[in-house]
């Protein structure tokens, strides 16, 4: 039993190791693609804690992603913060906003929760447009000229360097990925699973489901904010379009495609979607039709998402 218990940990560490090694093997373009995919997969992993483990479908995560994004961007642009300080602010603000948003929206459930989170997120999006004299609205702004290299003594962290971008993305993904694994194996994860399966029964057993859902929401939102913060540092662009609703739908799509409630599903789903769009858009302007058909076929073949279906049929030990 102990050996089986350690297998997921080895599996997850192997994935991180493989991603680390990949940077030395991959051609330049795929190197940059994987950089992007890891940041977005971290975002999806955070989303998965809410959707996959707790059964709460949110359309408000673009707001939480953008909280991290704008925290980094605005503190660097206006306050001259160093990247590390800006990142710290982003983490704290994401946690606070997640707790506040969760405290309000978790008073609803089901489709109402979906709508209320979407409304808050849209209000946030319109706020970034309204205060365009500060945020530069939908045009956005860039921070690359303010991201000076950090001298670490024996080496420099230059944010324009592709190795730095890659490993920063790997770091944020690893944190989200391992946190997901930890949650899925912890008593907290078991309570969340209970809430997902039957919230009334969990309540009856004495669990304060509201509090547990709030913890899940805060964790999920903070990871989303952390991903947004790293996105700002890696890609240097901050704009309202990243707060728009499609950036809430994306992690939902990636998670469902990869397998909600699985730790590796968000990575697989994100990677698949990013590559499918990239490849199909090279051949046709109607690539979204192709993507749609591909998604339908995948869902027909893998009704629980790719990793979810693999887990059900073959690798039952997958978390």
């Amino acid at each position: 039993m102990r050996e089986i218990g350690s297998l997921p940990a080895i599996f997850h560490l192997s994935i991180i190791a493989a991603l680390f090694v990949a940077q030395f093997i991959l051609p330049p373009f795929h190197h940059s693609m994987l950089t992007r995919i890891m940041v977005l997969a971290a975002y999806a992993s955070g989303y998965n804690i809410l959707l996959g483990y707790t059964g709460l479908m949110s359309l408000g995560h673009a707001m939480l992603f953008s909280t991290g994004l704008y925290s980094v961007g605005l503190t660097i642009l206006y306050l001259g913060f160093e990247p590390l300080a800006a990142f710290t602010v982003a983490l704290i603000s994401s946690l606070v906003i997640s707790l506040l948003l969760g405290a309000i929206t978790l008073r609803t459930s089901g489709v109402f929760f979906l709508i209320v989170t979407m409304i808050f997120s849209q209000v946030f999006y319109l706020t970034t447009l309204y205060f365009n004299n500060i945020t530069y609205g939908d045009q956005g702004f860039v921070i690359s000229q303010y991201l000076h290299p950090i001298n670490m003594g024996f080496f420099q962290i230059d944010f324009a360097d592709r190795t730095v971008k890659y490993n920063l993305s790997l770091l944020v993904f690893s944190v989200a990925f391992l946190l997901s694994l930890y949650v899925s194996r912890s008593p907290l994860g078991l309570v969340l699973a209970a809430i997902k399966e039957n919230p009334d029964r969990a309540e009856m057993l004495g669990y304060n489901t509201y509090r547990y859902k709030l913890i899940a929401f805060a964790l999920s939102g903070t990871i989303a904010g952390m991903s947004g913060a790293v996105y700002a540092l890696v890609f240097s662009y901050i704009g309202s379009s990243l707060a728009f609703i499609h950036n809430s739908i994306n992690p939902l799509l990636w998670t469902l495609l990869g397998g909600a409630g699985t730790t590796t599903g968000p990575l697989v789903g994100t990677m698949l979607m990013v590559y499918v769009i990239d490849v199909t858009s090279s051949f046709t302007e109607s690539y979204l039709v192709v993507v749609g058909i591909a998604l339908i076929l995948i869902i027909l073949g893998f009704p629980k998402g790719i990793v979810g279906s693999i887990r059900k049929r073959w690798l039952t030990w997958l978390p």
Partner: protein, 484 residues
């Protein structure tokens, strides 16, 4: 002092070293548009070019007799003599790769289709002319979905996978603003064709240029005087509540106010709005000029509802043609625009600026005298913007040939960028049919003439053409101080 065969690159390095020793050499303006002298060898086989320039005690002589290139550099006081001989065996076969970040899908798709058509026409023409420095252009297009995130991805794909030499960039400001910094990180020259203010604002980097179309600030600076002097001094502005609208609010407001006008009301309209009736009562009764720049699919509704509200008691109305790019002026609902005025960068109707160059360009792109596809009169072009792709490609060609750019090396890119930064004018001609342009190498931005047209019988009739100097504004931005 040793004299022997060295590479062109070594020659450049030798000159750079001598400059560091206090000897200024080599960089000068050649001909009407300027150029980069040292290392330049853009002559065709059979052509002989001799250029001599003395600068601060340095003499650079380059002679290209047909198939043999001989370059001599002499610099004082610490004399450096370099002689280089290499054989030019005719046009190189290897194509020059130009990446094209295009809005094939998303909100900019209408613009994207015409931008691509114009770009392909320019590429075909350049290749017919012998290519760039004897090398044919290979155009590689990537769709960015008019999305900032995908814009960055498109730049990465063009540079890292397709290994392009240069990038012809995007139109929409937010996409340019996201993609251009990445191009700068990858040290790849990126040519915006956007009319946005992002390049001259100094937000971007030394690798970003906008030489083929004027920016919105210069357009507004140019036309504000005509609006104030001819239409009225009490102005109400209606604009979309996002970046494009803010540029108009800020720069037109500033220019008009400085000319003695008053902006008596500013009415931002959310981009998601589909009905506009509730906004018109906010227009003050004493408004003399209603300035509007609405864009997007709701623009027909906007015009229709504006007509229903004001009827025949309307103030003078001035707008930007961006609202109507790709839209036939005889579309139902646009009748109210009769007698109103619009800014155009390049007249949609040929008779608005009928020059041989304009006819040549229109013919090559396949646009009829009314601004529509020659094979489909209903397919109206985005005529006022798409010339930027055409003109930018010819500027790129000129800079490559004058700089001697050959390969994707830091030295060649340095030569290319400094050559381009030394350009000062683009003369009107087949390559620049919209008109002559002044180029400011510090801002990486061009300045040019603008047109004001009146809608008459569902057509634009040009009533005023501004001068180039009307569009020039002061700026402290200087990209040339940034390292390469």
């Amino acid at each position: 002092m040793s004299i022997g065969k060295i590479s062109r690159r070594d020659a450049i390095k030798a000159i750079t070293r001598s400059a560091a020793a206090g000897v200024a050499v080599g960089v000068g303006v050649v001909g009407g548009v300027g150029g980069y002298l040292v290392g330049s060898s853009s002559a065709r086989p059979g052509q002989t070019v001799t250029v001599t320039q003395t600068a601060a005690g340095a003499t650079v002589t380059q002679t290209i007799p047909g198939a043999t290139v001989t370059q001599t550099v002499t610099a004082a006081p610490s004399t450096v003599t370099v002689t280089r001989t290499e054989t030019v065996g005719g046009p190189a076969k290897e194509p020059i790769k130009i990446g094209f970040e295009v809005h094939r899908t998303g909100i900019g798709a209408v613009y994207g289709a015409w931008y691509e058509r114009t770009t392909r026409a320019a590429v075909a023409l350049i290749n017919e002319m012998g290519g760039i420095d004897g090398r044919p252009i290979e155009l590689i297009a990537e769709d960015d979905g008019t999305d900032p995130q995908r814009g960055v991805q498109a730049v990465e794909k063009l540079v890292l996978e397709h290994k392009v030499d240069f990038i012809l960039g995007a139109l929409f400001s937010n996409v340019v603003l996201a993609a251009a910094p990445r191009a700068g990180e990858l040290k790849k020259p990126y040519f915006a064709v956007s009319e946005g203010y992002h390049v001259p604002s100094g937000q971007l980097n030394r690798y970003s240029f906008q030489p083929g179309i004027t920016d919105v600030r210069s357009q507004l600076t140019a036309i504000a005087g005509w609006v104030v002097n001819n239409l009225g001094k009490k102005i109400t502005m209606i604009y979309p509540d996002y970046a494009f609208g803010y540029d108009h609010r800020d720069w037109f407001g500033k220019a008009a106010t400085e000319l003695g006008a008053t902006i008596i009301e500013r009415i931002p309209i959310p981009p998601t709005e589909t009905s506009f009736t509730k906004y018109f009562p906010r227009v003050p009764a004493d408004t003399e000029v209603l300035y509007h720049v609405m864009v997007g699919p709701a623009v027909l509704t906007f015009v229709k509802e504006m007509g229903e509200y004001f009827g025949s008691r309307r103030p003078e109305i001035f707008g930007f043609v961006d609202s109507l790019e790709g839209v036939p002026l005889n579309s139902p609902g646009l009748e109210f625009l009769e007698g109103t005025y619009f800014w155009e960068a390049f007249p949609r109707y040929l008779d608005g600026y009928d020059t041989p160059y304009h006819r040549y360009y229109r013919n090559k792109v396949g646009v009829d005298e009314n601004g529509a596809d020659v094979n489909d009169p209903k397919n109206v072009s985005t005529y006022s913007h798409m010339f930027s792709c055409w003109e930018t490609l010819f500027i790129l060609k000129e800079a490559v040939e004058q700089s001697g750019y050959r390969r994707q090396t830091p030295d060649d890119y340095r030569a290319f960028i400094t050559t381009l930064e030394n350009f000062e004018w683009f003369n009107e001609g087949n390559q620049h049919p919209q008109g002559a342009k002044k180029f400011d190498g510090r801002l990486h931005q061009c300045f040019g003439q603008q047109f004001i047209s009146k809608v008459e019988n569902s057509k634009f009739r040009v009533v005023h053409r501004t001068r180039i100097e009307d569009s020039v504004y002061e700026s402290d931005v200087d990209y040339t101080k940034q390292p390469l």
